[in-house]
Symmetry: C2
Subunit: 232 residues, 2 copies
Amino acid sequence: MRSEDQQVARSLPLFAEMDDEHFDSLMKVAYLQTFPPQVQLITEGESADFLHVVVAGAVELFARSNDRETTMALVQPVATFILAAVLKDAVYLMSARTLAKSRILLIPSENIRAVMDRDAAFARAMVDELASCYRAIVKAQKDLKLRTGVERLANYLLRHHLAQGGNGLLTLDTDKRSLASMLGMTPENLSRAFGALRPYGVDVNGAEIRLTKLAELEGLAKSNPLIDDPDI
Amino acid sequence: MRSEDQQVARSLPLFAEMDDEHFDSLMKVAYLQTFPPQVQLITEGESADFLHVVVAGAVELFARSNDRETTMALVQPVATFILAAVLKDAVYLMSARTLAKSRILLIPSENIRAVMDRDAAFARAMVDELASCYRAIVKAQKDLKLRTGVERLANYLLRHHLAQGGNGLLTLDTDKRSLASMLGMTPENLSRAFGALRPYGVDVNGAEIRLTKLAELEGLAKSNPLIDDPDI
DNA sequence: AACGCGACTTGACCAAAGTCAAATCACTGG
DNA sequence: CCAGTGATTTGACTTTGGTCAAGTCGCGTT
């Protein structure tokens, strides 16, 4: 692997504090691969042979049952996914596909577990990463169960608006099909949800969105830091 | 704390492998308390000062936003809850209340974190416990998003039927109000869901349920080990 | 036995969200 | 420029689930 990519990995909280020797031993057995968009990386039910780290691009975690499919989470760089399955040496509970051209670091599960047993700093970092993943999914579950579709969209827009500077403009970074799936609704319903937000100053023009009545939109959204603040 | 109760804690996977001295130091600062039913133990938004271990009884984790409330999980003995908040020294994302008279072990968060940094076996056990919690909530999320209310009830009945011996009879271990909340529906809707299952051989008599057409019920439920098997 | 209370059920209705089909739009490769 | 493809939107309708109100049932108390 290129030393530049190793640097990226090394700078992750997950790998930052661990012993040099242990880090090197992991990198020696790791692969770094670049995938085109819409490639399925893992399939639920298969055994978790590699820890995946999204170095660049975007990955969607999804699940299927009966004939339904649902998006479970979106993984943005730089972050890991399916950590829990790797640690328990279990099967994946979710499938994953790239949404964009993505660069993925693959580290064999057995090496992860072996190093964790020898490197306390690494184990501590794992605990932290796992706890973050857990809290993220708890927030997602609250978002889903305590809000209607329109409210979820309003809060999504407000979060991204803030992250993009908060100047009344924002740009969607996925197509609307994926956005709908992320928000737990159908594309048709997303379209109607945007319609329902028009009276609250949400002007949509393709992927460009203008928020002209922030106060009203916030009134509808009723944001809650225990759901919407990613840093809590 | 009574030595008998310490033995219960010590036998938990979370504490089983750790150093004696470290275990004793934790027990020295821990409290064991018994609570009546319907006592709120923690409130979302407050800081996580104690790790809670349910030694006996039952605890419901729930969350509120707007004016809605939803059950997030049910914690059965012996298990921990709000581990992630403790590890990250963050605020609770969920509230907790006892459903039955419950015995709870309370261990100060700072001691948990301190011992984890010194005891590798304990850190490893934490990783394992957290990974289990994570996978449990992923399964709950899949159950919720990929199934209708009737299907969730059917699968709930089949799981408990199996756990109770699989002889065609089972007994609900909560009142129907709580069951409805756990399954993510209103009590009225649970009532209707039972009605919808009558043609599939589900005979309800108070908390006693007889399953007379297992094959048909299984056909409707379309169980999926990646959702329903607690050991995967 | 009569009462009262809480848990549960039922019915009528409403709201949210999914489905299916058709229309529109945007953009690409002739 | 124009057909063709895929994304998005819109409309009509269905399903799922929630709300409100009125029972009904079981059971302990008086």
